[in-house]
Symmetry: C2
Subunit: 225 residues, 2 copies
DNA sequence: GCGTGTGAACCAATTCACAGCA
DNA sequence: TGCTGTGAATTGGTTCACACGC
């Protein structure tokens, strides 16, 4: 199995393993089997073993995987042990919620600063961040080696803000605005579009209503995320 | 192509088509080609035609797809034209942000009520909702035919709240807490786990740093959403 | 020509079957 | 025996090639 090659699917599953492993570690568990992990994600256990093999970790026959070692290996593989720095643009409710989300720190994402272009907002304090004016963005990006821009701005502003951060050299954009962004080659956009969630759940409910008390439950099936 | 059969992949793309079509409709565009849609999602145009075929809509050779008709057909297919009703549990920052998110209404999701178990919060008004105590949840679920529970509670409370709503007959859970939920057969959980986003972006940045100025940009590639 | 629709071919992802090790 | 690791088989998703309609 070529390391360096990784499928999108595997890449999406890996953080889920990490989450489960963190829980197990907290509970004091030492070893875990591929079967156990597979049960949580509702996938085949062979798949788990393939995924683990991709990240380069080897388990121990009979005992399974060391919880701590595998979690660390995943962290290493994903680069979440290296600190990534982000700026957050748009200090509305969602922006504030994200600014104080403790999970980011846990996954090695540091928020350097929060920006907003509404004069009334600038200077306000949210979750320990003083809201800065967009004019100072370039300075912050340069000083802190910012790699990621988190966009929690209104739809109408999204493309403009996107262009701005791209012009400052940012190559990864985490877009929470319900807009499609156009970016040059070499820039990655991850769209966190809630509409997809609504649509998927709605579809599941609709089909489940169709066959009344349908037998296949898809219980706990992962909707990515 | 059997209608009724749909792949997870296709299901995830469909809301993105819907978003683009809504934009085009606003701009007054009448027709759109599979190639245009494909360009936005960075996929092959044949794929778009297959997806459209699955939802049951037929385009017109030469002109393409009618923007309005296709958007409506997607809405019909996903069941977003039928109103779905949800309750939101956990009136923190994230919960408040979601409660006022206008996109839900646009996608046919109506929030019936917002709950919180902190006595200090109950009675407060957020985004037009009076926060209700959990005790009144059963009554609301029964009166409004609630199908979806949106969980924006702390990690520690997530499983308990999940069990509660499942016991009330709710079969679709949209989980924003960084916890893995165990549910019985027949209940769907969609995990909206931000850690996945961090991990994916972090990984992309790491690999892009590895091959300096790597040629393949993955520009605008969709990270689901 | 310019677009959709679709079977066939291709390729990636998952599952099966079994080897190997403690 | 109980688990991982991995080639082989299978399944499923994507792309190709081309028929058809305007």
């Amino acid at each position: 199995m070529r390391s360096g090659t990784i499928s999108e699917q595997t890449l999406r599953r890996i953080p889920h393993y990490h989450q489960i492993l963190s829980d197990l570690e907290t509970k004091g568990e030492k070893y875990v089997s591929s079967k156990y992990l597979a049960g949580f994600l509702q996938i085949d256990d062979t798949q788990v073993r393939k995924d683990v093999s991709v990240i380069g970790y080897r388990g121990k026959p009979k005992s399974g995987y060391s919880v701590t070692e595998l979690r660390q290996a995943i962290g290493e593989y994903l680069g979440i042990n290296y600190e990534n720095t982000a700026i957050l643009i748009g200090a509305g409710k969602l922006g504030s919620a994200l600014a104080e989300y403790p999970g980011f720190a846990e996954y090695g994402l540091r928020i350097a600063a929060v920006f907003d272009n509404r004069p009334g907002r600038v200077g306000e304090l949210i979750s320990g961040f003083t809201i800065l004016p967009v004019e100072s963005m370039r300075r912050v990006v340069n000083s802190y080696d910012v790699g990621i821009a988190i966009l929690t701005v209104p739809k109408a502003a999204a493309q403009t803000v996107c262009d701005t951060v791209v012009s400052m050299g940012i190559r990864a954009i985490w877009n929470f605005a319900p807009a499609r962004l156009e970016v040059p080659e070499g820039v990655i956009v991850r769209n966190e579009n809630l509409a997809v969630g609504v649509a998927l759940l709605s579809h599941y409910l609709k089909t489940n209503k169709a066959d009344r008390m349908g037998r296949t439950g898809t219980a706990g099936k992962d909707g990515e995320g």
